[in-house]
Every structure is written in structure tokens, then in C-alpha cells.
């Protein structure tokens, strides 16, 4: 059995370095062809007619006028007469036409009569919900006794509404048939699993479905399935006998293609005189549209708190079902917990960092958090600059500091990788994975180059095609661990085969040979060597290849990380406008393959975090049940001027590196909401119980009004 492992720090050629992403140039110059850039000959454009009502029954559909428009190729009814529609934006019919303009004209010509039914879209008022589903109560320890003898208790209701994924490349695909064979250029996070889903819906064998995703413009957890528009697009293409491009319009993208569930909770939490947590009680509710929403992990991070009571009510609404949003359930749980703890620290007259420190025993990784809190506090100059919430304020602009901590798993998913060494020395990895913008292509190349002792231009990574060995969907920060492990195992096996074949030339045993710096040499005797090219030329006429799998032998990956974030904000007490001045993130993720890309993941998490902390929310209209901001005008994203200074510190070295590779996509997006909310409370002296922290909510809190429900 071979020893699969990562090289020690002093022997790393690629791991831990900061190469720029390999596809940066093609992306930034516009040469990268995303699925929505595919324009095969004869391409038709398809558009979808959606229901304008939040709850309705389709009474009648007349497609004749649309079908009569010149250039309309296929009109396809998705939900016909009698169908009950449960959210505005749900798909009713689709049209494929010669041009996008004609397709839109055809949508307007479709006559649909609806019977409008009552709707409910404002889950904040759970008492008014027609179909709330209270869950069972769960109690650990004796919370009542603990609250009764507690030194300080805080109690309040907090909440954050639903928000959208807002992928810049909307959901969709280009579908083309060649006889019974279907090729789909899909904007997906799941290249290897999509084919089977298309196949079963379309009634063909999965072997006849090819999925291609060379690049894709963002998924954040919302692009794991073909979706109805995928199947419809393929059906339109089959019926029309021509390739069909079907991507959602922006309003559809915002309304139906991905949202994060809301979370509200009445939270009560208490501590003793030493500032130790003694009890937690939460009565939570939330909605992810029609399916409602499940309990979030409360109390977050401090999950070993002994006395606690949890109740949760799932509130279905007439809105499209939610999808996994980067770190599902964690940002919500983090806000509900860290805001409550921050208020409790204030009640105890304790510095919140000191308060967290005193309670780290209730977390799973006290040492990591303690080290990270120290580093973050130093970066923020917390000791010098933090002031208690209770202080006099004599000017309109007030600064505040807030802290939050978070956790995530991030174990690598199942992955297979083929590595091939060609007789000319070229090395290639092929895997049915996808680069969803995180840099997967680049880190796989680094693992290859590391293993063979080469530089990045000497290796090639092929992914984004389900004809390659299957690799897991990119979700839950599972990709980096999965693909690095499968690639490393395949590469080590392939290298061993090469070394075995060239060992006689160097009059050595294969075990004595090392590949590094573009050469193969006898360990300890660099003069007994040959170039990599020469070594490869001696493997024979056929390439050497090996397949690696994850999970598998050797300690290449693990899971479980902790992170600390500190936000510094400036609040205009008179206008309620919050500006993030600075975000500090301290994060561990085991062995870092690419420092630049790791930091980039954290920057991205912080930017998304500022977005949902200050700006982003679904605004469903109680009157029509439609989203009023299904656009990029009033669905506000953070712009470059809004995110402040982002400062990232990655935990590396002994204690971290030997854990192997751990995923990083989710962790940095978890804490910003809580840290920014805490910073605002510190700045203005009161808690704003809502995210996002919009001026109206800040002013309401300052005026002592505007609580939730």
C-alpha cells in the first residue's frame, strides 16, 4: 500500500504558493465561453411565460395566437388547464423561436386565464400564516431552573428575511440533440450528476446525455439540478429539431431560481456572575417559500451549552422554494446566536471578546477560536479602540466594533480522477468536476505539478464534462478536499509507475527516486538524475495512467474549521445609514493549496456578507404576492464602494497544515451578518433586531420602535 500524503513544508513546490488562477486571463478578457455564450449553428431562443399571481389555478390557455407568429417554432404548455400554481413566477408555458425578440412577442400573445386564489407571503407574521407547522419542543438539561438562578438574562426577537442567490449568469442551458444523443451546456454546480437527472425526465439512457460546463457564472448552492427549465429546454430542442438556448430573465432568476430561507426567533439567553452561559431558550420560525424552513443549529457554535429549550415553526408561504445558499442555515443561526450573546455581554458589562473567551469550552474547538480571537483583536486594535456600548454620544457619526465566530465541516466529497503521463512528459488530469469560480482548475493543476515536480504550464487539467471520471457536485465546501485527494492519489500512483520504469536506468530502486524541479533523481544523490522529459520518454510507447479516488487511503483531507470576524462600521445616527469601514477575517482551513485563491474565497464571503448584512432581501408584496424587487435596482447588492477595507488572515503552519485539505467556500460568509449587526449595536447603543440593517430599521431601533412581530 502506497503512502498517500502531502509533502512536508520544506519540500513543497506548489502547495501553499500564490499562483494566479489559470483561467483569469480568459475570463477577464471575455474569451472564456460560458454556457450562455454557446451559440451553435441554427440556435433557437426560448423564453418562459410565468404566472403573475402568487396562488392561482390555470383556467384556460390559448396558444393559437402565439403559434401563428412567424418565427415561432414550438409552444410548449408546462402547467396546463387545472394546474394549481403556488408562487408568482412559476413556469406556465415556454416558447422556442428564431430570435429572442420573437420568443418574447410570443409570450405576450399567449392567452392565459387564471382563477386567482388567496396567498400568504409575509412569514414574519407567523400568527397569520394559514399553514404554519409547529415542530416538537426539544429540551436538554433544566433551562427553567438555570434561568431562575441566572445572574443576567436577555430576551428579544430577531429576524432576517429571505434573500436571493442572484447569480450573475442566470440559470439555464443550451440543449442540442444529435439523433437520440443530447448535449447540454449547462450553468451547473453538478456536472457528473446532471446527466442522470436529465435522462430520467426525458426517457433516455443516461449514457446518451453529455453535460459540458467549462465555466459558469455563479451558483452559490442554487445550481444542482436541471430544473424545470432545463427539461423544458431539452424538450423544445427535441421538438424543434434544433439547438435551444434557454436562460432565465433577471426577474425569474431573482424570484424562482434560488433564495435563502428567512429566520426569526424569540431568543432568551442567560449567564452567571462569572459571565458563563447557563441557559438558552429559542422559539424560532422561518420560511423557505412553499416548503417552509427547518430549524437552524441553535445555539450556534456554543452547542455544548447544557440547559436549553428549542422550538421551531416552519412557515410555508406562496413563494418559490428556497435552495441551499452558501453555508445553509449557518448565517441565520450565527446571527440569532451571536447577536443575543453580544447583548448578554453588554448586560454583563463585559467586552464581547472576553465574554466569548470565557465560554469557549461550550464550543468544539476552544483552542482554535482563542488563537484566532487574539489575532483578530490585534488586527482590529480592539483593546485600544473598542468602547462599551453604554457611552455618551454627541455626534451624528458613530463608530462601532463587533465580533462573531463560526464553524463549518468542509470534508472532501467523492471524487474520481484520471491522471495520464504522456511519453513526451505532458501530464493531464481529467475529472468530471466543475470550477464554479472558486479556482478548482488551478488547485488541481497545483496538485499535479507538486506531485510530478513540475511547473503549472507543464500540466493540464480537464474538467467540466461528464465523460470524465465522475466527481461530486460542488456544494458545502466539499470540492477542494475531494478533487485534491483524488488527484493526489492518481498522480502519486502514476508517478510511481513512471519511476518504476526508469529506475533501472538510474541503477536505483523506485523507492529511492524523487521527482522535483523538473527532474527525477536518486534521493540524496542529485547527480544520479535525468530530466522529467527524459524520464517520460522511457515509459514506452503508451502513456501511463492511473485513477485516484476519494475517499481513499492516506491522510490527505479532514473537516471542521473555526473562524473569527470583526466588523468596524460607521453609522449616521440621524439618517440610519450604515457604512462598513473594515472587515477582519481570521480563518483556518487545514492545508492551504493556494494562498491567493483561499484569501479570495474569504474576500468573496465578506463581500456577500456585507450584502446580506446591509442591503439584500426579498421584498414580497402583501397585495400581489409578487416580489417588488426582482431586479438589480431595488434588490441591492453591495458595490465596491460599500464593502470597506477587507483584511484576511489565514491560519497556517503546524497545527493546521497536517490536518490536510479542508473546504473554505462556506465559512467566511457565515459571520458577517452577526459581526456587522454587533458593530452597529456597539456604534448606536441599541440592537437593530433585523438584517439587513437598512436606514428605516436603524432609525426605528433608535426611536425605540419597530420590533419584529
Amino acid at each position: 500500500m502506497a503512502d498517500y500524503s502531502w509533502p512536508e513544508a520544506d519540500r513543497r513546490g506548489q502547495i501553499g504558493r500564490r499562483p494566479a488562477r489559470l483561467d483569469g486571463p480568459v475570463k477577464s478578457t471575455g474569451f472564456a465561453r460560458y454556457p450562455s455564450d454557446q451559440n451553435p449553428p441554427g440556435l433557437l431562443a426560448a423564453k418562459i411565460l410565468t404566472c403573475p399571481h402568487a396562488h392561482a389555478r390555470v383556467v384556460r390557455i390559448d396558444t393559437s395566437a402565439a403559434e401563428a407568429i412567424p418565427g415561432v417554432r414550438v409552444v410548449h404548455v408546462i402547467q396546463g388547464e387545472g394546474s394549481e400554481i403556488q408562487w408568482a413566477g412559476d413556469e406556465v408555458a415556454a416558447v422556442a423561436a428564431d430570435t429572442e425578440d420573437i420568443a418574447r412577442d410570443a409570450l405576450r400573445a399567449l392567452q392565459v386565464e387564471y382563477e386567482v386564489l388567496p396567498h400568504f407571503v409575509t412569514e414574519k407574521h407567523r400568527d397569520r400564516a394559514p399553514a404554519a407547522q409547529p415542530g416538537s419542543e426539544r429540551t436538554d438539561g433544566d433551562p427553567d431552573a438555570a434561568f431562575a438562578s441566572a445572574h443576567r438574562t436577555v430576551e428579544q426577537t430577531l429576524g432576517m428575511p429571505q434573500m436571493a442567490h442572484m447569480c450573475l449568469e442566470p440559470h439555464g442551458q443550451v440543449a442540442a440533440w444529435d439523433g437520440d444523443e443530447l448535449e447540454v451546456h449547462a450553468s451547473t454546480q453538478a456536472v457528473s450528476t446532471l446527466a442522470g437527472q436529465f435522462a430520467s425526465e426525458l426517457g433516455i439512457p443516461a449514457t446518451q446525455v453529455r453535460i459540458r460546463t467549462e465555466y459558469m457564472g455563479g451558483g452559490f448552492g442554487s445550481k444542482f439540478s436541471p430544473d424545470r427549465w432545463g427539461i423544458v429546454g431539452a424538450e423544445l430542442a427535441r421538438e424543434a429539431g434544433a439547438p435551444v438556448k434557454l436562460f432565465l430573465d433577471r426577474d425569474q432568476e431573482v424570484s424562482v431560481a434560488g433564495s435563502r430561507p428567512s429566520a426569526f426567533a424569540r431568543v432568551r439567553v442567560a449567564a452567571d456572575e462569572q459571565g458563563k452561559l447557563v441557559a438558552w431558550d429559542s422559539d424560532s420560525w422561518g420560511s423557505g417559500g412553499l416548503p417552509g424552513a427547518s430549524q437552524t443549529p441553535l445555539p450556534y457554535v456554543f452547542s455544548r451549552l447544557p440547559n436549553r429549550r428549542l422550538r421551531h415553526t416552519s412557515v410555508p408561504t406562496n413563494l418559490a422554494g428556497s435552495r441551499a445558499w452558501r453555508a445553509p442555515n449557518h448565517p441565520q443561526a450565527c446571527f440569532l446566536t451571536m447577536a443575543s450573546l453580544d447583548d448578554l455581554a453588554n448586560e454583563l458589562d463585559l467586552d464581547p471578546i472576553e465574554f466569548l473567551d470565557r465560554n469557549l469550552e461550550f464550543t468544539g474547538r476552544a483552542d482554535v477560536y482563542r488563537e484566532e480571537l487574539g489575532i483578530a483583536a490585534g488586527m482590529a486594535e480592539w483593546k485600544e479602540r473598542w468602547q462599551p456600548r453604554k457611552r455618551s454620544r454627541d455626534s451624528a457619526l458613530q463608530r462601532g466594533l463587533g465580533v462573531s465566530i463560526h464553524t463549518w465541516g468542509g470534508r472532501g466529497h467523492a471524487s474520481n480522477c484520471d491522471v495520464t503521463v504522456h511519453p513526451d512528459g505532458a501530464v493531464e488530469a481529467r475529472l468530471g468536476s466543475q470550477d464554479i469560480g472558486t479556482g478548482t482548475r488551478t488547485i488541481v493543476a497545483q496538485v499535479l505539478a507538486e506531485t510530478f515536480g513540475l511547473e503549472l504550464p507543464q500540466v493540464r487539467v480537464s474538467l467540466g464534462d461528464n465523460r470524465f471520471p465522475q466527481s461530486g457536485p460542488s456544494g458545502g465546501s466539499s470540492t477542494v478536499g475531494g478533487v485534491c485527494a483524488s488527484t493526489r492519489r492518481a498522480a502519486q500512483d502514476a508517478l510511481r509507475e513512471v519511476l518504476t520504469r526508469v529506475a533501472p536506468r538510474l541503477e536505483a530502486d523506485p523507492e529511492q527516486l524523487t521527482a522535483a524541479g523538473g527532474r527525477v533523481f536518486v534521493e540524496g544523490e542529485p547527480s544520479r538524475s535525468m530530466s522529467w522529459t527524459e524520464a517520460a520518454s522511457r515509459i514506452g510507447g503508451a502513456p501511463v495512467s492511473a485513477q485516484g479516488r476519494n475517499p481513499g487511503p492516506g491522510r490527505l483531507i479532514s473537516s471542521g474549521v473555526g473562524g473569527v470576524q470583526i466588523a468596524e462600521v460607521e453609522v449616521d445616527m440621524e439618517t440610519g445609514v450604515v457604512q462598513v469601514k473594515r472587515m477582519i477575517a481570521v480563518q483556518d482551513c487545514g492545508l492551504i493549496v493556494n494562498r491567493r485563491l483561499a484569501e479570495s474565497q474569504v474576500y468573496g464571503g465578506l463581500i456577500m456578507g456585507v450584502g446580506y448584512a446591509l442591503f439584500e432581501e426579498w421584498i414580497p408584496d402583501p397585495v400581489t404576492g409578487r416580489l417588488l424587487n426582482a431586479d438589480m435596482e431595488f434588490y441591492k447588492l453591495a458595490g465596491l464602494l460599500d464593502v470597506g477595507s477587507l483584511e484576511v488572515h489565514m491560519m497556517t503552519g503546524p497545527g493546521y497544515d497536517e490536518r490536510g485539505v479542508i473546504g473554505l467556500g462556506e465559512p467566511p460568509v457565515i459571520s458577517p451578518g452577526a459581526a456587522i449587526s454587533n458593530a452597529v449595536a456597539n456604534a448606536i447603543g441599541v440592537r437593530v433586531p433585523w438584517l439587513p440593517l437598512t436606514p428605516d430599521r436603524v432609525l426605528d431601533a433608535l426611536a425605540g420602535r419597530g420590533g419584529i412581530a
Binding site: V623, L628, K636, G639, D642, T694, D696
Partner: protein, 324 residues
């Protein structure tokens, strides 16, 4: 997109005769109208593009007057040193349009006459957004960005970045139409629609905005906008003020709110409060509070009353050179 014809007249007279035909609409910078057409919120028979009419562009800032052609782009105005020196507050107003693309394409006339951003209007429910029961959908629905001074059934807000300042300056608009030219105060370009289908401006068939003129130098003006994002975003509230007289003595003052009412909202009583008196911080606060008197906020926009008072106060402080 519904089919329409496109005309590119070379003279104002040609434009007028084209615009006289019902269903014709002016195309200026096109930064908004094209979206309205694509979204089928508005329908036109013919677009009359004004870009080819040279007379409509240009800036003249001499002789104590500022003249701005309606097809002048916001960026051209921003880059005009003499205009900026004459009315520095114009720079604040233009910078509030926080997108280089919008400033480069958007015109002064287009800014003044742009359609409201009301999210009910933009979703096809009409400017007044009256439901089947005749009640205001805005009132019953989400009105966080709507008017605190509703008029009749209208609850949308006037979105122009330049109008509050031009009204505060007492600027005039020159309108050319079938009966020749007329000059009106800029505020007279606006009206509140009383019935669905009526427009929020007073231009008649065949009329187009040619230029705006203002006498400059007599007043100290300022603009203060409150917006949530520093990146591209609409103001939640905007105030423009002009102070006439030898400060600290104020002869008269004009205070105008944007994003507060269906038209640029002249807070006359607040201005009158300052007239004939010496300007002090206390009086500024008084005027700011007077500016929101009579406001009728709805369920979700009470906070805009405070924003209006703060915007007026800060604009006055800025105009008076008393900013902290």
C-alpha cells in the same frame, strides 16, 4: 418588444411635428425608456430621437446666467468648469448619479423628465397603482420608498436628480411646441396625475424641452442626498436649497425636496421661516422641521420624514458654509 418606428429629426421644428402625432415619444439618452419598452411597461408608436439636433446640446455660463441645453449629457455638464463654478451644487447633484454609464448617456432633459421608479408602476400596475377595488396598492402594500407627501391617488416620488436644485434656483424651462416657445418655471413642468393614463409632466402633444436657464450668483445653493449605498443607488431623500441675501442675513430662501412627493416638493413654509432673518443653527433646525410639516407617511415610510428634515438641515448648513 412591440414594433415602433424611429425618427431622427435634425431640427427642433421637425421634432415638434413628429411629436404631434399621438403615440410619439422623445428618445433622449435612452437609459430608461428602452427598458420600459422592453418590459412592456410603456408602449410607443414612434420614437423621436433628439440626438441629431445640435441646438439642443450645449452650456452657456456667462453674464450671470446659466443656460443648459436639454440634450446636454450629465457628464458634459459635470465637466463644464464655468457651470460648476457658477453653481457648485450642480456637481453634488450629478455626482449622486453614481454610474459613469448613466452620466455619459443620460441627458439633462432626460433626468428632468424621467419616469418614476415606483415598483408598482414598473410592474405594470400604472402610475397610480390602484387595485381592482380602487384602493391604492401602494398604501396597502410595501411603500418604503414612496411619497411622504402623497397627492390625490399618487404615491410615487419624483426621481429627478436635478429638478430640486433647479426649482430651488428659480430656474426656467424653455418648451418648444406647435404654438412656438413658452418659458415656465421648472416646477411648472410637473403635475400630479389625477387619473390613470395621465402623465406626471405638463408637456403637451408636440412639445419638447429645449433648455433650462437660471440666473446665478445671487443665491448660495446646496444639495444634500441621503442614499443607502455609496455605489449606484437612488436617494432615499434629497433636499436642495437656495439662500438669497447677504448671509447671515437671508432675504428669502427656497427649499425643495426630491423623492418626497410625486413632484419636486417646494417646502414654501420652511423657506418663509428663514426669510428676512439672520441665519442661525437654531433656525436651520426650525426650518428643517417645518419642511416636513403636513407630511402624511404610510405604513412603511415614516422614516423618510426624519430623512427629509435631516436632508434639509444639512443642505442649509452646506449652503451657508456652516457644515461641521
Amino acid at each position: 418588444m412591440r414594433p415602433f418606428s424611429y425618427a431622427a429629426p435634425a431640427t427642433v421644428e421637425q421634432a415638434v411635428s413628429l411629436l404631434e402625432v399621438e403615440g410619439s415619444e422623445v428618445l433622449a439618452g435612452g437609459t430608461d425608456l428602452l427598458s420600459l419598452l422592453k418590459d412592456d411597461v410603456e408602449q410607443v408608436e414612434r420614437l423621436v430621437a433628439l440626438r441629431g439636433i445640435e441646438d439642443l446640446s450645449g452650456i452657456d455660463a456667462s453674464g450671470g446666467r446659466l443656460r443648459i441645453g436639454s440634450m446636454t449629457t450629465l457628464q458634459e455638464l459635470r465637466d463644464h468648469a464655468a457651470a460648476m463654478a457658477a453653481v457648485p451644487a450642480l456637481g453634488f447633484a450629478i455626482d449622486g448619479v453614481a454610474s459613469a454609464q448613466l452620466r455619459a448617456m443620460g441627458t439633462v432633459g432626460g433626468d428632468l423628465l424621467q419616469r418614476p421608479r415606483c415598483w408598482y408602476y414598473r410592474r405594470g400596475f400604472g402610475l397610480l397603482a390602484l387595485g381592482p377595488d380602487g384602493r391604492s396598492m401602494v398604501e396597502a402594500g410595501d411603500n418604503r420608498y414612496h411619497a411622504i407627501f402623497p397627492e390625490g391617488d399618487a404615491r410615487f416620488v419624483s426621481p429627478s436628480s436635478l429638478a430640486p436644485l433647479l426649482v430651488a434656483l428659480g430656474a426656467e424651462a424653455t418648451v418648444h411646441g406647435p404654438d412656438g416657445e413658452r418659458r415656465v418655471p421648472v416646477e411648472a413642468l410637473y403635475r400630479t396625475p389625477r387619473a390613470e393614463g395621465e402623465r406626471e409632466n405638463t408637456l403637451g402633444p408636440g412639445e419638447l424641452l429645449v433648455e433650462v436657464t437660471a440666473s446665478v450668483g445671487a443665491a448660495r445653493s446646496a444639495v444634500y442626498e441621503i442614499r443607502q449605498r455609496r455605489s449606484l443607488d437612488w436617494p432615499l431623500m434629497a433636499a436642495a436649497v437656495s439662500l438669497y441675501g447677504e448671509l447671515p442675513l437671508v432675504d428669502r430662501a427656497r427649499i425643495v425636496l426630491g423623492h418626497a412627493a410625486p413632484t419636486p416638493w417646494l417646502a414654501a413654509a420652511a423657506g418663509d421661516l428663514l426669510a428676512g432673518r439672520e441665519l442661525t443653527p437654531e433656525q436651520i433646525v426650525e426650518a428643517a422641521e417645518a419642511a416636513v410639516e403636513g407630511a402624511r407617511p404610510m405604513s412603511g415610510n415614516r422614516y423618510k420624514m426624519q430623512l427629509a428634515a435631516v436632508a434639509v438641515r444639512r443642505a442649509l448648513l452646506r449652503a451657508a458654509g456652516m457644515e461641521a
